[in-house]
Amino acid sequence: MTPIIDVRNIRKSFGGLTVIDDCSIQVSKGSITGMIGPNGAGKSTLFNIIAGSLAPDSGEVLLNGQAITQLSANQRFHRGLLRTFQIAHEFSHLTSLENLMMVPPLQEGENLFSTWLRPGEVRRQEAEVRRRALEVLDFVGLSHVRNELAGNLSGGQKKLLELGRTMMTDAEVVLLDEIAAGVNRTLLGDLMGNIERLNRELGYTFLVIEHDMDMIGRLCDPVIVLAQGQVMMEGSIGEIQNNPEVIEAYFGSETA
């Protein structure tokens, strides 16, 4: 079976610093794949390359067997490849509801001509999107702040909004960049429950960068360990936690 995401021989350097060095990873369809690694291992850079926010120096990214390396981030979005941001991004001057309503792909309203020529159709779609946005807000538990400007939400709420954004469209793969960071324990339980449900019920594939090992342990299989821009190992959480090389990579500087 072709992996849903296939990253082949990616290299990326910034100035003289090589961040990703001939790195290849695969994410199989329907999995919740974890990605861990010490700071500076290149996780976020690889993420940005997969999502299309950064162009690699060489190498290829394939989505469902098709090369998407040349596509822009918004074109990848329309192929069902979504991402969240490590530091929650929001349209701070729009309300939570409007934030979600911004998302759905290929809406008629975004085509200049249909806006003028078929206002009825646009209105019908707008109502549909609104209904879905309200459902999603309910799902992630943000209904009570739907008319609040997103800029005024708490850090944890912004993270929930990020997850909600990925639910506005029929995503295939969602890249979650440290979704747990800054979210309190209760909210985190909800968040993980939601991720599992999306995976089980809607068939979302997730690729998760996370520092919270509890969350990785509960959600992810397999887990990929990245170090110095390369894959160090891949396996189940149990295998990884017992691997001396991984422990060395994480704590090497302190034990040396």
């Binding site: 999502a51 299309g52 926010s53 822009s72 981030a73 918004n74 979005f77 329309h78 979504l82 991402r83 941001f85 991004h89 929001e90 349209f91 701070s92 001057h93 729009l94 409007e98 309503m101 911004m102 998302v103 759905p104 792909p105 809406q107 309203g109 975004e110 200049l112 806006t115 646009v122 707008e126 954004r165 469209t169």
Partner: protein, 332 residues
């Protein structure tokens, strides 16, 4: 009462005219800034370019406006707006887009826009010469005199001024509805708020950038044409407005269209009030003044030739009071 009418004609009307022009110009500058994050210095010459298009079309079809009872220049305005929008998008693709894709710093974009402005100035003079030309070809500017009972002096409005007020209101209301109601307008606000997220939300940022140039080009054409209708077409007319327009955009809060409108009117009225001869208003009191106090014939705060300092005085004053402008700037 005559003095009040004089005040109305020379301050309220003149200030509104300047304010409208500055406001429309500043909205264009501020929209470009909010989406593309650089100060577009070629904006004034885009205004002139739009006006030139109107002038050439008017010269080609001098009587096109007659059946509608409007000046031909106004009838030609939509065509010129479309043309200028196309040129603006073309300039972006040819000069700014390659720089953007290299991820250059905003200052490089600003310098590029200075280059574009010099290029446009040359091109415009190539076609229009350096002299001034009336946009009323084969027609006369209508002047409305409104008599106020009991006063000898009438309120004077010219046809282009009335058209200017109407078009400004339509443009501002239209822009407001577009930004708050239309999906594409909201996408535009979203992109000015957070471009990374906009892309990650599947918003077509190229389309938004194109649209920004279309709006900016159209507004520039409107501002340039209405100004030239009121005065006359001169290749450097709009260029001299560049600095006050930027002052207006900054005073209002950079990147904030409503701020740009407020800033435009603030700067426009400040300029007009500063050069207004206040001794006219004091003249009726002349007889009751003590004999040793002689009323000077000119009591303007600054001479007309120093008008250009006024926007900058306002700019500094407002920025000390509110460093981000009247409206909090940076995003739409």
């Amino acid at each position: 009462m005559n003095e009040l009418i004089y005040f109305f004609n020379y301050v309220v009307v003149a200030g509104s005219v300047t304010g409208c022009i500055y406001a429309i110009g500043a909205v264009g500058v501020t929209l470009i800034y909010s989406i593309l994050r650089f100060a577009h210095f070629a904006h004034a010459d885009m205004m002139t370019l739009g006006t030139l298009a109107v002038l050439l079309l008017t010269l080609a079809f001098p009587h096109a406006g007659d059946p509608l009872g409007l000046p031909t220049a106004i009838v030609m305005l939509p065509v010129a707006m479309a043309f200028t929008s196309l040129v603006a998008v073309g300039i972006d693709r040819a000069f700014y887009q390659p720089l953007r894709s290299h991820g250059v710093k905003p200052i490089v974009m600003v310098i590029a826009s200075l280059g574009v402005t010099l290029m446009l100035q040359g091109l415009i003079r190539l076609f229009a010469g350096t002299g001034s030309q009336n946009l009323y070809v084969d027609a006369r500017k209508e002047i409305f005199r409104i008599d106020v009972p009991g006063v000898t002096r009438p309120i004077i409005l010219t046809e282009p001024q009335v058209i200017l007020f109407v078009i400004t209101i339509v443009a501002v209301v239209g822009l407001h509805l577009f930004l708050t109601r239309a999906r594409l307008g909201k996408a535009m606000r979203a992109m000015s708020d957070n471009p990374d997220l906009a892309r990650a939300s599947g918003i077509n940022t190229r389309l938004i950038i194109t649209l920004t140039w279309v709006i900016a080009g159209s507004l520039a054409t409107i501002a340039g044409t209405l100004l030239s209708l009121d005065v006359a077409f001169k290749p450097d007319l709009s260029f001299f407005l560049l600095l006050p327009i930027f002052a207006a955009a900054i005073v209002g809060g950079v990147g904030h269209p409503y701020g740009a409108i407020a800033g435009g009117f603030l700067v426009g009225f400040a300029e007009t009030l500063a050069v207004f001869n206040w001794s006219v208003l004091l003249r009726p009191l002349r007889d009751s003044l003590p004999t040793w106090l002689e009323l000077p014939s000119n009591l303007a705060l600054v001479g007309t030739e120093y008008k250009i300092v006024v926007p900058f005085f306002i700019l500094v004053a407002v920025l000390i009071w509110r460093p981000t402008g009247i409206f909090k700037g940076k995003v739409i």
